[in-house]
Subunit: 342 residues, 2 copies
DNA sequence: CTGAAAGCGCTTACAG
DNA sequence: CTGAAAGCGCTTACAG
């Protein structure tokens, strides 16, 4: 007696592939293929499909597409911190490559914390991102496995590695650290201190470069190093400057591992009326916004984060499309920017 | 003769709801409900389902969920620019509220460009975000309609409006601009200049506050305003300082619309050896990183972006869950931070 | 080059 | 409180 058809209708009112197919007089498959340019479709049909799609204002449903194809068009991008403007520049260039290519960056911030990175991976990997962009190589074994087992193409940014099968774009943080230290040496400095914050892998690589340069000059002294695990900031830089100067009054230069702490150091020098560079030369790293406006302007290393983002995203694009470029590891350069502070 | 069953198998190897259901000895629906706590389910079954899910390592497929429910768990967050650390702070607090609640922020950067904002909305709205967080009210009519027609709950940040049905969390940029100008007046300044960049709505609201305060004091002079459409930056601040001083040598104070240009102005003063605050008082806006370290330290207005993000995300959470809080518009305060530069 | 069928892994809408 | 059926809107896998 209950003859009412028990149909669970729940149309979302959305224009679907089927609507376009009907309007164009072809099958849904053909619409799908025509719109994605996946397989050769009769140009005449392609044209008809496109017109129908435009006329109806058809927009593919990303969820349906992701479910059917087991792949979304989002690209997970993991960076340590946005308060370091280095990563803002990096994200900007990544976006400029990925977005026009039909992929959307999904930004995750790890706060230099491997547990947070793991949580982000656990949360986002089930979304089946089309690709993955991560910062450096320092992560938990679990995170590493999550990435590997996901099968999602991954490119590492900011550091390089020669390990086989690894895709990366970066530059030598060690060499760059050695180069700026070498510059200070060339300027005649002999008691060159190193102040660092955060102590992430790249910072420690710069420390290594610093040590290498000083050892080669026979001037290395562990007492000249001040390493703080705190987050990098202008105010921390000011504190480190004062502390270093108090602890080792004989220093004639400081290499700060990042421009923000270097700027803080310079401001502390201004406040304490320590003549820079006469009494102490100050150098930074990364050439961040404002460094050229300091008094005196800050000598630093210009790092190619824009290019790293651009090249890394392009490499990932190749991987995602199945047409990877030959190189799996790109080593970019850096540039010494000598200004008034040294 | 072709007896082979024509089945299009394409299991992804993934653990599904059905697997959990089988293991727990219940129907898939019950698993779905137990895990989402959507409807009351027998506690005994819930327990069994949870154990089965844990044992199998079940992770729901976001794409399938989004397709079936017409709603993803992502929240689109649109900000103008990440190089303004104000928005980094905002995003940070938004993440802290949303992520633990099971929603993932999807960050979009508009670069203060309404066409870019439209493109982001067109790209991301089809993903059916669970919610939307946007900056201010200034957008194209098209963007406004895209948002309204999408039916996605939306909260506006950083500005407030009394329009009915609008959800927002912000503070009065006008009042804050007037307050800092009032402070300069109270310090006895009479020729108070205003330097601004970007000229986005919030900057112009601060300008309004500046004008209001000076008009009330009978000291308003349009010649004292220097408005640049360029992006805000430390180096632009330095240029604006020099230009302003050259154009109007009689000024005795400058209110910069944002701390980055104020910092640049302060550095220019250092370089040109213009005594601050003796010859010229300098004030900024937002209390960004580094302002407290300037020489002299910068007087500014501390704006509650962290609280805006926190309250805005919480309000959105209520909207998304269908349990909106009573207030649809929250007006927060700001705080004058008087330091050595005034 | 084109298509009919099945399936991706969930949730909605009904029923009981 | 629980479930069988249908459906969300695509793409894959086969065939021809």
């Amino acid at each position: 007696m209950t003859a009412s058809p028990r149909r669970a209708r729940r149309s979302s009112g959305r224009i679907t592939l089927a609507d376009v197919a009907q309007a164009a007089g072809v099958s849904p498959i053909t619409v799908s293929r025509a719109l994605r340019e996946e397989r050769s479709v009769d140009p005449v049909l392609v044209q008809r499909v496109r017109e129908a799609a435009d006329a109806l204002g058809y927009v593919p449903d990303p969820a349906a597409r992701a479910l059917a194809s087991q792949r979304s068009t989002q690209v997970l991008v993991l960076v340590p911190m946005l308060s370091n403007t280095l990563f803002v520049d990096l994200l900007e260039s990544v976006h400029r490559v990925l977005f026009p290519a039909g992929f959307q960056p999904l930004i995750g911030v790890t706060h230099y914390d491997s547990a947070e990175e793991e949580l982000l991976l656990r949360t986002y990997l089930p979304h089946r991102p089309a690709g993955l962009l991560v910062t450096g190589f320092d992560r938990s074994e679990t995170a590493r496995q999550l990435i590997a087992r996901s099968g999602v193409p991954c490119v590492h940014l900011m550091e390089t590695s020669e390990a086989p099968g690894v895709h990366c774009v970066g530059f030598s943080q060690v060499d760059a650290g050695a180069a700026i230290t070498g510059h200070l040496l060339a300027r005649g400095r002999r008691r060159i201190a190193f102040c660092a914050a955060q102590l992430d892998p790249r910072t420690l690589q710069r420390a290594e470069g610093y040590r290498r340069a000083l050892r080669e000059a026979g001037l290395y002294d562990p007492q000249l190093e001040l390493l703080s695990p705190e987050s990098s900031s202008i105010s921390l830089g000011a504190r480190l400057f004062e502390e270093m100067l108090q602890r080792m009054p004989g220093i004639d230069a400081i290499f700060f591992c990042n421009d923000d702490i270097a700027q803080g150091g310079l401001l502390a020098a201004n406040r304490l009326q320590v003549p820079v560079p006469q009494r102490i030369a100050v150098a930074g790293f990364n050439d961040l916004a404002g460094s050229d406006q300091m008094v005196p302007p800050l000598t630093t290393v210009r790092t190619p984060r824009g290019e790293v983002g651009q090249a890394g995203a392009s490499m990932l694009l190749g991987l995602m499309r199945g047409t990877p470029a030959p190189a799996s590891c790109i080593q970019l350069g850096y540039e010494l920017v000598v200004r008034g502070s040294t």
